[in-house]
């Protein structure tokens, strides 16, 4: 039925009858809205969306504006990458867990380092109690070699949670050289290169003050484009902001505004957009608001395609493609009746899949209790296997496309995202909007609004404000803890190794790093890689750059 039904007498009459029956059935109801504040009606029809602008607004998969997907084949050709973020204990502990996850069907490696690493310290600089409790303690190229033992670096994509100045990638490159692997074959992603997202939310990755972080990022992108061309140096992250409380539309808007900021910083350096943009990737949170998330991703793809082409001047279609990794939202998970989280993660993952993601992390149901246990990690990855291979979710490309509701919502989300982007633009762009605290304020207000909705009962959270059950400690799954003896041995070995290396080489490399930081003509990241190869530790590299460029601190306000 291709003809719009709108306007025919029969439809008018049928619609009026439905409206009457609906009103009689539900009575007065409170207004319904999604998390981004968009009102949601009980029914959508051709009056809302009639497919009249199919070519301009949707098109075909693999064709601009990519609303239906960035590749012609989408998940039917190449399934999404199952990338489970893992990181715990010593490099050896990590390597053992990695082998298990790869055997379960994960197709790429990821590494979450310890929070001490995130803050830019070595393990001998922090409280020992905290080592390895939330990530792997990797401080040297040798640690990276041990963490990735048995991993073929020429054929395995490695995603590193690796903020500026990107020491983990430097350790990967040092490891590759040691193993005789050509850097041009090394592939993966610098997951935490988006320093603005660190400045406004999830601050622990924010190691170096804003101006220094801004400069090192462009150095990093430029170096990778030239020397490690299969590496994605730029991952623009909406996840932190949405986990921090931003609505889905706000998170998408801030992310796109950040991407524009980073791209324009590269352009200002004289870099070619068709060289760096194909290596830009995105990383998003996927909340439980199913249809809203699907619409968020479809709208985001469309906006980015236009921005890359019209505003950033990219001519190569690879630059227009909005490649993204999705992670199911941890904030939506509950400590109460934690097995319910399996259901939540399943719905979130489906939203990501229907949203057209390229790579997916499904949270373990016990992540709200501790670092995931082996069993919970297995359930998380098998959730992806069930959705793909048992439920046949990937048989049809963009299966929700053409739904009156989803298409209407995609248009509405697009307008809302553009509205928020305009606020950022009016404040001078993302760098200045973040520096002024505008973005943080909006995120904080949205977080409070959501919490109030939970507390008033307007937003149900099963097990928390509804369907509560008495729970005993015995009902909760076991908690992961690193082995303290192994961590002590790791620390002792680190101290011994540090004392035995060539101190001269370390000093020279750190001095060269400081000189590069002081000279705009040099590439700081190139010197980070050289320092890693010369035996400098993570803490030494970060420490020296902090001295030169200042310590990253977020704004302090509620």
């Amino acid at each position: 039925m291709n003809k719009p039904l709108d306007g025919t007498l029969a439809l008018d009459a049928a619609e009026a009858r439905w409206q009457e029956e609906y009103a009689a059935g539900v009575g007065t109801e409170p207004p319904v809205a999604n998390r981004s504040g968009i009102p949601v009606k009980p029914l959508y029809t051709p009056r809302d969306w009639d497919g009249g602008r199919y070519e301009e607004d949707l098109g075909f998969p693999g064709q601009p504006p990519y609303t239906r997907g960035i590749y012609a084949t989408m998940h039917r050709g190449r399934t999404w990458t199952q990338r489970q973020l893992i990181g715990l204990g010593t490099p050896q502990d990590y390597n053992a867990r990695l082998a298990g996850v790869l055997a379960q069907g994960a197709t790429a490696v990821s590494l979450i380092p310890c929070n001490s690493v995130f803050r830019g310290y070595d393990m001998d600089e922090v409280h020992e109690e905290l080592l390895g409790t939330c990530g792997t303690v990797v401080n040297t190229a040798g640690h990276m070699d041990a963490a990735l033992a048995g991993v073929d670096l020429a054929h395995t994509s490695c995603a590193m949670n690796d903020p500026s100045p990107f020491t983990l990638l430097a350790f990967v490159l040092a490891t590759a050289r040691r193993r005789g692997v050509d850097w041009r074959a090394v592939s993966g992603t610098s997951n935490q290169s988006d320093y603005l997202s660190h400045f406004v939310a999830n601050h622990m990755f924010f190691r170096i003050a804003l101006p220094g972080a801004r400069r090192i990022l462009v150095d990093h992108i430029d170096f990778c484009n030239r020397a490690v061309p299969r590496w994605n140096p730029m991952s623009v992250v909406g996840q932190h902001m949405q986990q921090g409380g931003a609505t889905p539309a706000e998170a998408m808007a801030f992310t796109l505004s950040s991407a524009v900021q980073y791209a324009e910083d590269c352009l200002a350096r004289g870099m070619d957009p068709d060289r760096f943009l194909p290596r830009f990737t995105f990383f998003f949170d996927i909340s439980l608001s199913f249809f809203e998330e699907v619409a968020k991703f479809r709208a985001g793809r469309r906006i980015w395609a236009r921005l890359a082409r019209e505003r950033l001047g990219a001519k190569d279609p690879r630059s227009w493609r909005f490649k993204f990794h999705g992670q199911t939202s941890g904030v939506d998970l509950t400590r109460q009746q934690p097995l319910n989280n399996v259901a939540r993660v399943t719905v979130q993952a489906m939203a990501g899949i229907f949203g057209g993601l390229q790579s997916l992390h499904t949270d373990a149901y016990d992540e709200v209790l501790s670092c995931p246990t082996d069993e919970a990690a297995r359930v998380a990855i098998n959730t992806q296997n069930v959705l793909r291979e048992e439920a046949h979710l990937t048989d049809v490309i963009d299966p929700l496309g053409g739904s009156y509701y989803v298409e209407t919502l995609t248009d509405q989300m697009e307008r809302e995202i553009l509205r928020v982007m305009k606020i950022v633009e009016d404040a001078g762009g993302m760098y200045q909007a973040a520096e002024a605290g505008l973005v943080q304020k909006m995120i904080g207000e949205s977080a409070m609004r959501f919490q109030r909705a939970v507390e008033s009962g307007a937003q149900t959270v099963v097990g928390v404000n509804a369907y509560r059950a008495d729970e005993a400690e015995a009902d909760r799954p076991p908690v992961y803890k690193p082995d303290p003896a192994a961590m002590r041995a790791h620390l002792a070995a680190f101290r011994t190794w540090k004392a035995a290396r060539s101190q001269d080489a370390v000093r020279r490399a750190l001095d060269a790093l400081a000189r590069a930081a002081a000279s705009p003509r040099e590439n700081v990241f190139e010197q980070v890689v050289a320092a890693a190869e010369a035996g400098c530790t993570h803490g030494e590299i970060c420490g020296r750059l902090r001295e030169e460029l200042g310590f990253g601190q977020p704004l302090a306000f509620v």
């Binding site: 929070n115 919490q451 977020p554 509620v558």
Partner: protein, 141 residues
Amino acid sequence: MEAMDLRPKVLVTKIGLDGHDRGSRVVAAALRDAGMEVIYTPPWQRIETVVKLALEEDVDVIGVSSLATDHLIVPKLLDALRAADLAEVAVIVGGIVPDEDERMLLESGVAKVFHPGASLESIAGYVRAITPRIRAARTAA
């Protein structure tokens, strides 16, 4: 006689290495909205800094938010508070705290642990309820 300010005075902070501050920001804003005097810090405070702030600001309660195991060093904070003669200040912890760690914290002197899902009202109610006791202990000391 000078009227005593009955509003609880609360320091909301994060120590250690983690930077997830949604919880601390929301709780701080809620306590302020509930009429309390709130001192808020960004993440990564050193234990000495928290003790100094508690002393200078004369707080009744210190709320420590821990989403990524930073609660493991809260006993060190309690030791430092006792060493600074601030034993009567109540330390409460909110966030992701496994049962085993909760027992350890309560044994080390933490007044209460709030888990994910705790309502803002329950946190504010608790702070309001314990403040008179803390003030009485301070006057007696």
